[in-house]
Amino acid sequence: MAAVTALSETPATSAGRPRGMQARRRRRLNIFRYVVFIVLGLFFVLPLLALLRFSLEGAKLGTWSATAWRQIASYQNTGIPPLLSAIEITLELAIITCAVMLVLLVPTMIWVRLRVRWLDRTIEFLCLLPLTIPAIVLVVGLGPIYNKIQHFSLSSLMLFWIYVVLALPYAYRALAAGLSGIDVTTLSEAARSLGASWFTVIVRVIAPNMRQGILNAVLLSWATVFGEFTIAYLLLYTNLQVELYSISRNTPNAGVLFATSFAALIFTFALLLILSYAGRARRGRR
């Protein structure tokens, strides 16, 4: 429930102008709101616009050119992998991470909610622990583990093991919010009384009712993977952020840097925005 009543309309008298103390207060509040939105909105938008502008910069300062954007697909510098391959790897990483995260977390959380309630706090603690243990710290301890992993594969895709852990806090919170909205016990008892196995209960009964939470979790994990730099860099792998960093060390003003950054951002933002409308549509239908 909002702290203050919804403020979109102020009722008008027959004379057409709102009067009265409550109306005055609402107007003052609205002024405050719009000042805040404009000032902070500018603060958020300007760097993004700068990114966009620089990505459209031509050979001479002040000119416009879309070269940087076209370069995304073909950019290659000596000593570093092509930009496109870094993008591909990161995309694949994101998909694998999201998939593993879902398979790992969703059944576990549902199962705990259903049958092992006493582990609830423990699971929550473990999932939120990565927030406390910064990536930079994890890297220090990951050396021996990744040495072993590298016996099997040198691909950057192997990063997914640790990326799932990084995504845990955000995914957990999103899934927990989704779970709290449904009566898991009743649904599962109903399904079991009709003869469903636990597998069916989890996959066919509960999970579909958590759609919003699952989508949220996927999106946050996705954003985490796309934004990750520290671990990939220090373990000497390549992903999108590392690639961008390397390019910037070589050619600091490469337009392609800004184009890629901007694209990644807008893409995620659009996804989140669509998601927030998808959530509402479900509610409206009821």
């Binding site: 309309e9 009722p11 027959s14 009067r19 103390m21 409550q22 109306a23």
Partner: protein, 375 residues
Amino acid sequence: MTSSPVTRARDRAARAAVEVRLEGLSRHYGPVVALDRLDLTLEPGQLVALLGPSGCGKTTTLRLLAGLEDADAGRVVIGGRDLTHVPANKRDMGMVFQAYSLFPHMTVRQNVAFGLRLRRVGAAERDQRALEMLDLVGLAEQASRYPHQLSGGQQQRVALARALAIEPQVLLLDEPLSALDAKVRAQLRDEIRRIQLEVGITTLFVTHDQEEALAIADRVGVMREGHLEQLAPPTEVYSRPATSFVAEFVGLTNRLAGEVRAGQLTVRGCTLPLVERDTPDGQVVALVRPEAVTMVSHDAPESGPLVGTVIAVTFLGATSRVTVDLGDATIMAQLPTADASALPAGSRVALTIRPDPVLVSASSSPAVSMAGDET
């Protein structure tokens, strides 16, 4: 030793129990009219209950009186002073909300003393008055607890104590019992009335539960779509409803086809006097209370317009409600349980209607309405 707040409150109320007048109040939200030129007067010391279906404007009336919303037109006059443009925090009224209004981070005592704190009453005196208020509502031992540790009924009693602690001129109650269990509701309802009478404060009580309204009010105002349909003591509202809406909203009503001829109403073979003598001739729907329907006989009666088969008997305590199928209509009768126990489902019974004055409704389709069951 200073006097207790109850005595003080009573003295003050006796000195200056105020009259509340709402004149021509209007309020709309966009195209929706919530209140349409409402006129309502509360005599000093009276408890007036506003009753009606949701959307009728009763809560809006209360909130306008409290100053939590602005009126589009009209005046609010308390004790002779025009308070229409006075902000809510200066109106000197105590309000009890439906739920959740206690401050969760304060103890019960701190909650009750909050209004006094705002009025810069010293800490010691504040605490003392708060405790006395809590005594009034019977919760003095809970003074150091937090709201989440209390039951719903206890929380509402604390809310009442908090509202009264500031010795307001008017007490406002916005469906205070709606969120509570049935048993608690009945208890608390009587307690609110007892305290209100003891303190003698002019009170406005909003509810959608007619039983509540009829039980405790000095006068009941039945509202519909922004209008006041009737303002009268409970007995009058119940037995002499002013409009068909009131008749159907308050209590149960049978809707029976009948005919009016020359000022006389004939319903299923019974001649009944009309409330409105000058009702034009024609087919009408008569509104008959179940208590007006009585049993004539139940042993193999002959057929007749008021002879039928018992469908169901609902035990209500001293009386029972008997639903009878008359073939082309269904009728409800409220009979003493002793009589009703002789009527198992399926048996035949003959009824008659007592000649109390009856209202007729403008609308058609005479199905028996369970209008009074609306919550």
